[in-house]
């Protein structure tokens, strides 16, 4: 049943050839309970929440503390039980944001493992509406990338035919999704079943790259066990798809193209071609919320790169990145870059970090903390090798867009479809002249999109 798919999206790169993942691949997920957590009001860009608690109040883990205020927001819950120390504005990655600082007062109690974490759950009595309400109230967001609120994806009036569960984890260095698939297989697959029911799709595909054979094996074993348990309904069709290892295999659009052969139309969403894509972490969180009644307050974070002991940690939302790096034994290089997320798309939060200052706090979509030694390259003139063109999964010509942008020729940027850039970073990665193609193409994309919006406003 496991099939290795050959045909995939065009372009793409093979960054670092796999040594990177080996750093943390065999590190089991360790829970970590920090003394204080700093929960940001914006868990993803544009997802603003307002806090419902006041300093001095006592909160329980899982208690609702933030109410969504923007389209991109999902409800916020306390990630530890304890006292609210402060609700104040802090500077996070160069932005001023409201944050709620909680002090942990209770030690974590080890509970007996819930049944959905070690066997097939009976979901026949849970209605679709209950699942959607659960997703909304549980504060679920995409846990792989942009952190789009999950309920916005599932409460669509478009007809959904396929559900893709994204475990590709194509970013180098990160292994949090891999560990999740390996260690939380039952919860994950129960979550996938819930999401399948919630989406109304005919079939769910759990997709991963072929550099994670153990995870595929594990999930396949559990899936076989589940389908023979008699608790799975006839219409619940799940399939494990193993895809070739290629970045950006886990990009939403590329995954749809690779697995289903469909292309999301320009300016559209996956729902336009009948697909919903959710991260494996989101599926597990759905199971936790609907079957275990715990909202999304914790996630697995990979801390890796130039640290003494790389590892995967299960941490409450709001954990400080500095603490996590200290947990790994600290950094091993003074000339460094600290990156929130993967090395291809993650923002650099600190440069030549000394190990003292505060970095950032874990949000629902933080998949990793990466310490890289400073690469130290300089931009050279473009040699027109068209490397960027051949690796662009969106089919763009980044070097031409770059020239057009530097010439401030935005009409040309638009003609070159700069608006379709997915910001994967393949072009910058492959460039032998070290041009910052990805940065400039993204800039061009934002300008072109802004112009398109302005035109649309003028027309109406």
């Amino acid at each position: 049943m496991q099939k290795l798919q050959k045909s995939v999206f065009p372009g793409g790169v093979h960054p670092t050839d796999g040594f990177d993942k080996a750093l943390s691949m065999n590190c089991a997920v360790t829970p970590y309970y920090p003394e204080t957590v700093t929960i940001l009001s914006e868990q993803s860009f544009g997802g603003k929440c307002s806090f419902l608690v006041k300093p001095g109040e006592h909160v329980k883990e899982g208690q609702l503390i933030g109410k969504p205020e923007a389209f991109m927001a999902a409800p916020l819950h306390a990630s530890v039980s304890g006292k609210v120390l402060a609700v104040k504005e802090i500077t996070e990655q160069g932005r001023r944001l409201m944050a709620c600082i909680l002090q942990r007062e209770e030690s974590p109690v080890s509970e007996a493992e819930a049944s959905y974490k070690k066997g097939t759950a009976d979901i026949s009595l849970i209605s679709r509406q209950e699942i959607l309400t659960g997703i909304r109230n549980g504060g679920l967001t995409g846990m792989g990338g942009a952190g789009f609120p999950t309920h916005k994806k599932y409460e669509t009036d478009k007809k959904i035919t396929d559900l893709l569960i994204n475990g590709a984890e194509c970013e180098p260095f990160l292994t949090c999704d891999y560990r999740l698939m390996l260690e939380e297989g039952y919860a994950l697959l129960n979550g996938v079943r819930l999401l399948l029911k919630g989406s109304g799709a005919k079939k769910a595909y759990i997709c991963m790259e072929d550099n994670k054979p153990l995870a595929a094996e594990n999930l396949q074993k559990i899936l076989t066990e589940m389908s023979s348990s008699g608790l799975m309904a006839e219409e619940e069709k799940l399939e494990i798809r193993v895809l070739p290892t290629k970045y950006p295999q886990g990009g939403e659009r590329q995954l749809i193209q690779g697995v289903l052969g469909r292309e999301v139309p320009m300016g559209g969403l996956p729902a336009d071609v009948g697909v919903i894509v959710s991260n494996v972490g989101t599926a597990k969180a759905a199971a936790d919320m609907i079957l275990g009644n715990t909202p999304l307050t914790k996630r697995i974070v990979t801390a890796t790169g130039s640290v003494k002991n790389p590892g995967n940690y299960l941490v409450p939302v709001g954990t400080s990145a500095k603490e996590l790096i200290q947990l790994c034994g600290g950094i091993t290089t003074a000339q460094n870059r600290i990156i929130a997320g993967g090395p291809m798309t993650g923002p650099c939060v600190a440069h030549n970090w000394n190990g003292e200052t505060e970095l950032f706090h874990v949000t629902k979509n933080t998949s990793g903390i990466l310490v890289l030694s400073e690469p130290g390259y300089e931009e050279q003139p473009c040699i027109r090798c068209s490397g960027c063109e051949s690796v662009c999964p969106a089919g763009l010509v980044p070097y031409k867009i770059e020239f057009a942008l530097l010439d401030e020729d935005y009409d040309l940027c638009e003609k070159l479809y700069a608006s379709e850039c997915i910001a994967c970073g393949c072009c910058s990665y492959i460039c032998p002249a070290r041009r910052e193609l990805s940065v400039r193409t993204r800039e061009a994309r934002d300008i072109v999109k802004q112009r398109m919006r302005e035109r649309a406003v003028k027309k109406s």
Binding site: T16, T161, P343, M344, C348, I383, Y417, V439
Partner: protein
């Protein structure tokens, strides 16, 4: 050049840089250089060394004078220098080589904006200049040292293709052509060693082999079909190994600025058709230089003919899947 230091992703980069790509190209030319020293004597080394020095110096001085960032150390001028020397007969006067070098780097490359912005291959433009301005000095080819009795006196001799063009006999076996024991420009004769270098570039993944092979294929096919004595009478091996086809295809045609765009196969075929047409119809025996230079100039237009699919632009209907 913008020296903006950005800290946004991606934070990891491929190991390939302009410098080491060009270095690999220069390394891949070394076997052929050794071959030319063997066949034409130590003067080929002097000529190549002079050519490289002049190219790098020209680039350096220009960039200094024009107050541009100095990129003379990126080995691209070295490659141009070697290729230009490879296009000269071993007897070429040194001042001709210097003039061609300065023209290539200054006029063809730097005046048009430096690396990547040249409108045609600089080395071939340098050769074209010498062919037009000093034909007497650079179109005089000599027989290899290994074939002459004294071993050191250069004996003026027609190239294989030139001899056949003028109705004569090739005078050399195919094996000699393959190994390079024929009269010709100093780097173009030893096809085997050039192919070794080409294989090295393919192995390092820094060359568009498909463009080179398409070009060779087109030339050989057309010259075979439209042979000198009627259809399908062309001499495949003579056309393949007799002239500078291998050097042109592997190192000139595959110039990054032209051969890596989309539509590169069309580009290679265009160059091939022009080269073959010159070989068949004109009094020039080779046609490589003109074929590639013309295709260089057309490359931009040709790439526009090849539309690339942009993700999501083609509108599809949901009904098609469900």
């Amino acid at each position: 050049m913008n020296q903006t230091k950005t800290f946004s992703g991606p934070h990891i980069r491929t190991a390939n840089t302009t410098r080491n790509i060009m270095l690999h190209v220069a390394i891949s030319l070394m076997p052929a250089l050794l071959g030319s020293i063997y066949f034409f004597g130590i003067r080929s080394l002097y000529i190549t060394g002079l050519s490289v020095t002049v190219c790098v110096l020209t680039e350096y001085i220009w960039q200094k004078l024009a107050k541009k960032p100095v990129t003379a150390g990126d080995f691209s001028a070295v490659v141009t220098g070697i290729l230009l020397a490879f296009n000269m007969p071993v007897t070429a006067p040194l001042w001709v080589i210097v003039a061609a070098d300065v023209f290539s780097i200054l006029v063809v490359k730097q005046m048009f904006g430096g690396i990547g912005c040249n409108f045609a291959n600089p080395a071939l433009m340098g050769r074209l200049l010498t062919m037009v301005v000093w034909p007497g000095t650079v179109m005089q080819y000599v027989a290899p040292r290994t074939l002459t009795a004294s071993g050191f006196d250069a004996v003026s001799s027609a190239t294989v293709l030139g001899a056949v063009k003028n109705g004569g006999e090739a005078g050399y076996s195919y094996l000699q052509m393959l190994l390079g024991e024929t009269p010709g420009a100093l780097g173009e004769t030893s096809k085997l060693l050039l192919l070794v270098g080409f294989a090295y570039m393919c192995f390092m993944g820094i060359v568009n082999a498909e463009a080179a092979l398409t070009y060779i294929g087109t030339v050989v096919l057309l010259t075979f079909v439209f042979g000198p004595s009627g259809l399908f009478t062309g001499d495949i091996l003579l056309n393949l190994f007799g002239g500078g086809l291998i050097l042109g295809a592997c190192y000139m045609l595959t110039d990054y600025a032209f051969a890596s765009r989309r539509g590169r196969l069309l580009y290679a075929v265009t160059a091939g058709v022009i080269t073959a047409a010159i070989r068949i119809f004109s009094f020039y025996p080779e046609g490589i230089c003109f074929g590639i230079l013309t295709a260089n100039c057309l490359a931009g237009a040709l790439s526009l003919l090849h539309k690339k699919h942009v993700y999501g632009v083609k509108k599809l209907k949901l009904e098609e899947y469900s």
